[in-house]
């Protein structure tokens, strides 16, 4: 469902010169699978996910999302994905219902189907009490529910989630985790970047560790344990970063 082959992204920076934010990265994610992307700050996780969401253009390699090529068919790619970043905000002066309808329309969902889907998501995420309240009046948890519902409003086969639980308290982060597990059961293909090792270990079927733009290792937990000789993901992660003895 997501196939990445030698994907690269370089850019020029006045201070740092040529920066290879993503360097020859390759991996695959199947339907009904959660692929975790781990890495320290500035490792290239967000850039890789933005490339797959076609917000940035690759400078090398190729990738397909839901069978569509990133460069040749960017609109079809975007139609296939639901994108959520932890830092993503919501339109403060719009209600959750208006937000869902707006994003549904941008995905060209037929109006009657969109209204049904919006009602369905409002019920599913227990948003009925605040569905018609302006977003700037909502609590963090309510906003997060709205953000997840927005990601799912067009029923995308692929979810790209960039640190979706960052800065969330445990109960609110739990809403995200449950949604991700439910999406896997529904056969969606999920790309999940996170800092939280416990979360990655619990949610992800396979994990890729990215550092300085390069994918250092990719596999299941048992494959990662075998490759590093470490038991816990935190130790595996630090070993791959060269911060702990192998």
């Amino acid at each position: 469902m997501v196939t990445v082959r030698g994907l690269s992204h370089t850019f020029e920076d006045k201070k740092r010169g040529t920066v290879r934010a993503v360097d020859d990265v390759s991996f695959e994610v199947a339907p009904g699978e959660i692929y975790g992307l781990l890495g320290p700050n500035g490792a290239g996780k967000s850039t890789a996910l933005r490339l797959l969401a076609t917000m940035l253009a690759p400078t090398g390699g190729s990738a397909t999302v839901n069978g569509f090529d990133l460069v040749q068919q960017p609109q079809q790619v975007r139609r296939s994905i639901g994108f959520l970043a932890g830092e993503t905000g919501l339109y403060a002066r719009m209600t959750p219902r208006e937000t869902l309808m707006f994003f549904g329309r941008l995905h060209e969902t037929p109006e009657d189907a969109l209204a049904r889907r919006t009602d369905e998501l409002i019920t599913r995420f227990e948003m009925t009490d605040f569905a018609d309240t302006r977003t700037d009046k909502l609590s963090t948890g309510m906003k997060q529910k709205t953000a997840i519902a927005r990601t799912l409003v067009h029923d995308p086969p692929v979810l790209i989630l960039d640190e979706p639980t960052s800065a969330l308290d445990v109960p609110t982060a739990r809403i995200i985790e449950q949604t991700v597990l439910e999406a896997r059961r529904a056969g969606r293909c999920i790309l999940y970047s996170t800092h939280v090792m416990e979360e990655a270990e619990y949610l992800c079927d396979r994990i890729g560790v990215i550092h300085q733009g390069k994918l250092r290792v990719s596999g299941t937990m048992s494959e990662l344990r075998q490759a590093t000789g470490k038991e816990r993901l935190r130790e595996i992660f630090l070993t791959l970063l060269g911060m702990e003895a192998a």
Binding site: F11, R50, A53, T54, M55, L56, A57, Q75, Q76, R78, R79, I81, F83, L84, A85, E87, T88, G89, L90, Y91, A92, R93, M94, E98, F102, F103, R105, L106, H107, E108, R134, R150, I160
Partner: protein, 385 residues
């Protein structure tokens, strides 16, 4: 290009900005309340000040009692009271008297403080009285020598203003409209434009929009159309409130009489509004292209404020008397619109001049839009944090 997506983005932006108090303030409240308040307030203040000065201009100082009975009679007719003061200059400065006159060897020296309106009025009245006496003396001399009074005036000169009331009204109104409307268009469109570009970046809502199937061109067109609507609405509101203020006593004295000829016919108004349309698109596109390069709201404000300031100069120049429309000036953005509006309101606009200015502004608007799309496509701009 999918117009349905453009319309969706446009509707969302309009809903968003109509719910924003700050936008409404700059788009509606400022033109509808502040402009009439300023014009009507200034008009009232000037009229009050004129009346007060006229009432105050009642006394003149003299260094010695008036000897000439003719002058005494003329001063009495003018309503000015005379007061003998030893130091004229000091008396005027201390406002004991409004103006003063001293006579030496047949030369009358009028003293007045020209920074004070009352002193000026008293001095003018005094001069009129002296002229009256002078004329009486000249006529008496002519009569004594058996000459007719007409000997002093072999012919008469009168001035005739060929500009009709409409043209004079347009001349005054056109000078104000070109400047105020164009300036407020830019300042009124500034806040919504920042809100939907740098504001989105700051609030981290832009990424979600970029991840939808809409293209960057569709996003820019939707946003720009909403920004242009805000800009254009500001122009409409400003026009309406200017007309209201000027028609309701916003101008003092002679300007008030001339403003009776302000052309308010549908055709003139339609032409003015049509002339402003490409400028609204150009202003919005340009402001969007600049604002989106900023990291946040405050940074965008600091980028756009100089642009608004820069607009003042050509907008003001275009409305000034003597700035006649010519093919070259029709190609200078903002200046050309200000000039065109003046011509429309004076009733002497030529079809070719209108077409040239309108066409040039359409080209500028298209270029500004293309620039805006190009800026939106730059990764370094969109993801600059």
């Amino acid at each position: 290009m999918r117009l349905k997506l453009v319309a969706t983005i446009y509707r969302k932006e309009m809903t968003d900005l109509l719910r924003d108090r700050r936008t409404l303030l700059s788009m509606v409240l400022l033109p509808l309340v502040a402009i009439p308040a300023i014009i009507l307030g200034a008009g009232k203040f000037m009229a009050m000040s004129e009346k007060k000065s006229s009432e105050e201009a009642t006394s003149i100082g003299i260094t010695a009692p008036v000897q000439s009975p003719e002058l005494a009679a003329a001063l009495e007719r003018s309503g000015l009271k005379t007061m003998v003061v030893p130091d004229l200059r000091a008396a005027i400065e201390s406002r004991k008297v409004s103006a003063g006159v001293e006579e030496a060897a047949g030369i009358y020296r009028l003293l007045a403080d020209r920074t004070r309106q009352a002193s000026g009025i008293a001095s003018d009245r005094l001069q009129a009285s002296l002229n009256e006496v002078k004329e009486q003396k000249v006529l008496a001399t002519l009569a004594a020598r058996g000459l007719p009074a007409e000997a002093l005036q072999p012919f008469h000169v009168t001035r005739v203003n060929v500009a009709n009331e409409r043209k004079m009204g347009g001349f005054i109104f056109g000078t104000i409209v070109g400047y105020v409307v164009v300036l407020l268009m830019f300042s009124g469109g500034m806040y919504p434009t920042i809100d939907m570009t740098a504001g989105e970046k700051e609030r981290r809502t832009l990424e979600a929009l970029l991840a939808t199937p809409s293209t960057r061109t569709e996003i820019v067109l939707g946003k720009m159309s909403a920004a242009a609507t805000a800009t254009y609405t500001t122009a409409l509101m400003t026009m309406a409130s200017l007309v209201f203020a000027l028609k309701n006593g916003g101008l003092p004295g002679s300007a008030k009489i001339m403003s009776g000829g302000i052309p308010l016919d549908g055709f003139s108004m339609a032409l003015v509004l049509l002339a402003l349309l490409p400028l609204a698109v150009m202003a919005s596109s340009l402001m969007m292209a600049i604002a989106v390069t900023a990291r946040g709201f405050k940074e965008a404000q600091s980028y756009l404020t100089p642009l608004v300031m820069m607009v003042i100069f050509p907008a003001l120049l275009g409305g000034l008397p003597g700035m006649d429309t010519n093919p070259l000036s029709s190609l200078i953005p903002v200046f050309n619109t200000s000039q065109l509006i003046k011509s429309i309101l004076q009733g002497d606009v030529k079809v070719a001049a209108f077409a040239l200015t309108f066409g040039a502004n359409l080209v500028f608007a298209s270029l500004a839009f293309a620039f805006s799309v190009r800026t939106f496509n730059r990764e370094s701009v969109l993801f600059r944090t």
